[in-house]
Subunit: 922 residues, 2 copies
Amino acid sequence: MWRSRHVISGNVNRSHVTRLFFQHGGREAASCHITKPNMLNVHLVPHTHDDVGWLKTVDQYYYGDRNDIQHAGVQYILDSVVDQLLKNPDRRFIYVETAFFYRWWKQQSSSMQQTVKRLVNEGRLEFVNGGWCMSDEATTHYSAVIDQMTLGLRFLNDTFGACGRPRVAWHIDPFGHAREHASMFAQMGYDGFFFGRLDYQDRDHRMIEKEQELLWRASDSLTPPMADLFTGILPNGYNPPEGFCWDQLCHDPPIRDDPDLEDYNVDDVVNRFLVIANSQAMVYKTNHIIMTMGSDFQYENANLWYKNLDKLIHYVNAQQANGSKVNVLYSTPSCYLQELHRANLTWSLKRDDFFPYADDAHDFWTGYFTSRPALFPLVGLDTDFHTFREEAMAVAQHHDAVSGTEKQHVANDYARRLANGWQHCQLLISNSFAALSGSFLKRNYCDNLNISVCLPTEILNKFLVIVYNPLARPVTWPVRLPVNGTAYAVSDVKGKPVDCQVSFAINELVFQVQAPPLGYTTYSVSLIQDGPPPASTHYVHVYVLQFLRVTFDPDTGLLSSLSNLETKQSIKLTQNFYWYNASDGNNTESNQPSGAYIFRPNSSTPFIISKTAKTETIQTSVVQEVRQWFAPWVSQVVRLYADSKALELEWTVGPLPIDDNLGKEVITRLDTSIKTDRFFYTDSNGREVLQRKKDFRPTWNLKQSEPIAGNYYPINSRAFIKDDVDQLTVVTDRSQGGGSIQNGSLEIMLHRRLLYDDVRGVGEPLNETSDIFPEGLIVRGRLLLSLEHPAAAADLHRPMAEQEVLQPLLARKFRLPKRAETQPFSGLQAALPPAVHLLTLTQWDKDSVLLRLEHQFQSRESKLNSQPVTVNLQKLFSTLVVLGVSELNLSANQWKDKMTRFDWTPQKGTGPLQTGCRILLE
Amino acid sequence: MWRSRHVISGNVNRSHVTRLFFQHGGREAASCHITKPNMLNVHLVPHTHDDVGWLKTVDQYYYGDRNDIQHAGVQYILDSVVDQLLKNPDRRFIYVETAFFYRWWKQQSSSMQQTVKRLVNEGRLEFVNGGWCMSDEATTHYSAVIDQMTLGLRFLNDTFGACGRPRVAWHIDPFGHAREHASMFAQMGYDGFFFGRLDYQDRDHRMIEKEQELLWRASDSLTPPMADLFTGILPNGYNPPEGFCWDQLCHDPPIRDDPDLEDYNVDDVVNRFLVIANSQAMVYKTNHIIMTMGSDFQYENANLWYKNLDKLIHYVNAQQANGSKVNVLYSTPSCYLQELHRANLTWSLKRDDFFPYADDAHDFWTGYFTSRPALFPLVGLDTDFHTFREEAMAVAQHHDAVSGTEKQHVANDYARRLANGWQHCQLLISNSFAALSGSFLKRNYCDNLNISVCLPTEILNKFLVIVYNPLARPVTWPVRLPVNGTAYAVSDVKGKPVDCQVSFAINELVFQVQAPPLGYTTYSVSLIQDGPPPASTHYVHVYVLQFLRVTFDPDTGLLSSLSNLETKQSIKLTQNFYWYNASDGNNTESNQPSGAYIFRPNSSTPFIISKTAKTETIQTSVVQEVRQWFAPWVSQVVRLYADSKALELEWTVGPLPIDDNLGKEVITRLDTSIKTDRFFYTDSNGREVLQRKKDFRPTWNLKQSEPIAGNYYPINSRAFIKDDVDQLTVVTDRSQGGGSIQNGSLEIMLHRRLLYDDVRGVGEPLNETSDIFPEGLIVRGRLLLSLEHPAAAADLHRPMAEQEVLQPLLARKFRLPKRAETQPFSGLQAALPPAVHLLTLTQWDKDSVLLRLEHQFQSRESKLNSQPVTVNLQKLFSTLVVLGVSELNLSANQWKDKMTRFDWTPQKGTGPLQTGCRILLE
């Protein structure tokens, strides 16, 4: 895939763009405290971890509202930290979440802003990570992560210049770590990466081997060290060592150093600290160790922390006069990293990822891969109109947002924000259409199309459908509109009739539209005949269209085979729905229940929902559908469009029944004749694909304790199983968890409804209802199945997933248009080659746009498309004239040619990797 | 009593003493914000209420240790408040408890100390009350209160000069208010007094009448306005109005004034505030109202409060442009008081006190009058050696210390502190003895005499007993020492034999000692005959000595009558022990249980412990004793000393049995033939006596809802019942609760053991055990009964109570002394007249001492002793030469002639009162 992702800012005002970076200096921070080479140096890193929504909404967290739910007020944290930094120049602090910092910053006086700039310039306040939020790694799509990182980093750049640029990525809380995230961080110029959570067996192994600090080679495609990222595992998650938490939220004894008062405890504190420091040094490689002195929403009253840390440093270092070899200092992750770099050692190399995450034998954090499946399509929604209300999207990438591990009222808040953002997008799109078309007539969007509700198309006799296509290539797309008439006429902009059909069983008008690259076109729809539909459904067992053939078992109504007519491949394929009985924690092995985070089925054998499906068939020239009913709460449409190479399974699950007091985790399972031999494949954040193997981890000898949950991995855009001949690929429309438990089988978790909290802080069972769904959420989604030879599969699933993420946007218009505005429009002179994805095209400032072009094929996955590609930028756009181009890093906060990163040496050499693609300016 | 209490600082270095007060200025504070005469002015008073021990010990509170028990750290409060005051010169803060402030101050840098001085001088930080603690009012003795106030106020004076002198007394938390406290505050120069707790019926009445601000005439004896104290009742206890608590300990919504973020709430906050302010104005007299913006241990992160208060003031006052007539401002109690004074109104006059305190119909805070009776004697202990370790005594006067309403571990801490303080006192006394006697031999104190344990006197054959007398008149005192021998010889300093006797039943040597005023003398004790005691106890029914006759009922073993042989008075007197069954809260009327604070018997009829007592008699020439056993956990010694005018009842109660799961509140009840007609009398803080009447309150029409608890009052030193002929006075050795429920009856609560918390915060049942008493505390105390004509009773009970509080101190010495050191010593040339009590004589600085002389008789209570008295200071001391005298106020922080207080006009005139005594310098 983006073996090189090139970010280009075309601009006419070079000095303006240059301004963004004028303070770039040398590699090493001058503001780090001096360390002592012959001692153990303990880097104390004061920090706060401020979730951009979790138990409270982001704005409740900012203001400190609803402290009855959780005591947390970020405005006060920043107030207090700045105050306390000013009291002692030795003190340090790091801040992470720009979503909060931005809110605070805009409320400060200019003199306070100057003060903060001084603290930043002096390295006393350091930004780390610096995205809008600390994104989730298991359930996010790379495009949204890049956007949210860019949003945060740009604010820091605009506000503080180079001294505000984070040098360290800092994902201390996400529940497992994606390789693609590491790759992105490397390409964003970070010198290193720290996190807190990894599998407990992995940690134990790494402690013994002193491999808690390592080099992560995060891409199969990019030439090292392009995607190499130094990675450090923090010693206590992100908490302080036991007994040394001095925040107002903690209860550890403060340092009581007045000998006149009771309980003088300096000696005790110093001794305990020395024991902890020396123990920690045993499991790390250098004579430097880091301690995270902070935690969730701490430092609201920073005085408590700093007053005691000042004393700790004073009294511990005073012991050096008595021969102590421990030197403790205020520090930051980048100062610590600098010392590791200076140590000039070699580091073990890692090529896989950190999924799944378990913090104990029966505590696999694989439930959140699918938690809140109804929130996911909203979060994944990316229309490329992200310049406006992009904060809502950015906020939603937070590791307690998209992950579904927030409280219900917070999930509702995210949904509200995304809906608001979407309203703003619609306005923006309407204005764009209007500007291009000259018509300001009101446009209307059908937001509820996914539940087949669109009032205007159901009551009007004549309307226009405008199709916007955000991709850089033309698309063909089936449009399905709820209607009430019997027959309609559809025509394109040239008046040419378009084949269309009404499915009476479901009162849907279906027709295929074609839209130009990065552009739009218009179709007009007119009612021809009103009245009730004729009754005509019938049942067949074999469905054949241009590219695929599927068969159904006439006895069960289930899928029985899938064939590719082009390649003449065929596999046995049975698909059905099952549910795992969620553990209620009442178990001899462990009292861990299934919850928002944790997946823990009571038994490894799921219950089948129904052995047979009632079916109904709809056949039109446009589409063939088999509708399957498994239970009142599980149904599916198996759909073959005339010109599609994928079989669509549109599943509808819910409301999950809980009258039996059993929590349910519903999967669909595809059982095939493919010989998988324990292997299967999942993508990482929608980009590169990683190989998975049942009951196996690449870097340590796994003791498997949860045969299902311990074999689940995140699926963001696709998963596949294959043997030498056949590859069955499933492209998903949202992030989900899945696994391959049996040979030839692939299961995907679709929906979860649980009755117990899983004791990871959220304090609620994952048991969603809503105003529309008071009996429990109904979730609808789809899987796209394709069968190909392994060597050619990517040629299909890459563009298919691209289209799935950036679906055409439909708008309707009910007044009859003037001729002009019905003209189609494309922003490109020509389509981009199949390998190149137009990831970003957005106005950067008055005179420049930010363009991201991505090579979307992984190395070696396609003979044809994994090759380098050349794009001529001058000939790309239809309405923009390129006056100049400057290449930036992935996050657009550094010039590419100025980006220098620490070099790290892996312990052993790695084989040659393919070189990246080149984009040439001709 | 101290109709005038004169405080005199004799000194040779006038300039040195003057230094204490050189910053004295005018009456009105220049630092108060300007108010608006045509508007309702709302005085916001940011404050914290920092208990000097309650749920945590004083040092745990200071450091913020054990925040798991309660989140509170005073060091951080003061850090934070000073920081925040510096951020905005409009902000104000008041601080109250010098015990904490002193700890903090001595840890500050000199530059911080300068900063704080500036804040004090500018009136931005104001001290109110200013004692070492906020003393309890129901269970304290006036001498300890004066000492603790003096200690705190002196620190403020020494540190800040006049600007640090509190102008306002501030007892926002004590559970009811004593008239003697008001009198002391007036004499200490306070301009006014604010508190938060009073009976709910009283408050309702005062709200309707607009009498929540009043003039308290706090003495029957002192000429107005000497003991007049303007008193204000705060509107919300001491909390902020509902919805406006912005401390980190609260959950009220912060002001969210960023219109870009969700839940903008400025309009809502302003409207709610205006409604509250206007409602509050309806129940107060002027166009100024006060709001206490703070509570227990608040302002640890003062930013939360001030940031929101700044916004509140801004947005509320902004409404004035729209016609609002509400003006809100930062203020202090003294600024608010100044506005009330300027209003120049008349105020209702109050002459009684604010006991008992009930916050609901079944919630009388009359249990704490007796809670932790074993702690009381320690707290009452006052040897006048309070210059050293006086902090321990001062801390113990706190309203959660002496009141017994602290957690058990905190009570243990107070006991430890007092014991430490007592050790230091012993050292000081030993050194004083040594300096006077020239001998540095080790002295030995019998701390466990009250439980008859004193190892040295039990094993040695020869020793000295040194008797120190802190009173300004000679005392005769019975000494009882545990011994093992059969016969002893005792002689005074002149070698003259002293009558002595061994009580074999209890192995006690008893003899009378006589000690000179403010001095000591020595007795030598020698064993004459060793061996087992002869068996010889017998029983008689009538005991007669010089002054009293008591009879016992031969059938029951109980007291049956008491006669005064001098006056030929005689009354029927039965005394027995009973217990109330403490409510467990399981009750239809209310779920309030009895607890540390609340007394709520399940029934108004107490259970009798035994109708009869087993008795045993011991008669010697020195003392006659009847020992009574009522139960394994209740016994008593009825004791008549040869030359005593009082009958001593030494009761021993405990461990209270709780195997029946019933909480017990044990009383002793004296039933007499006196016709009391619902009246009885109790002292206030050991000084003036107030009349009480059953089911009656002087200032409102009481609806009595608790027939026992609602008739309980604090007894600090004495209570009496009387009719025209007979007055039975009981002098106590500790503070206790008591009442007169039946005609002729007086009951005193002795000990309490409860099984439920009473839900007032302490979170523990009052169920004490200890290492020595694992089965439950055993408490021993004594009551001194006297029978006199009412007009002469005070002539006996005043000196009796004086001796009870300031008992002689005994030390023992085991090596044979040289002749010189056995000489008796008196610090006075002659005894003071009976009416004058030497309240204080302490080194003030190098060249001066602080002397307090008190007229200890209330006006009109004694024909002889209520008269003015003259004392010649020049001829008073035997070792001090008086070079000069300056008169100070009661708390010794102002020159008497410089003390000017606000004048307040009562609503109606008051009758003439007797003038005070004069002390002349001849």
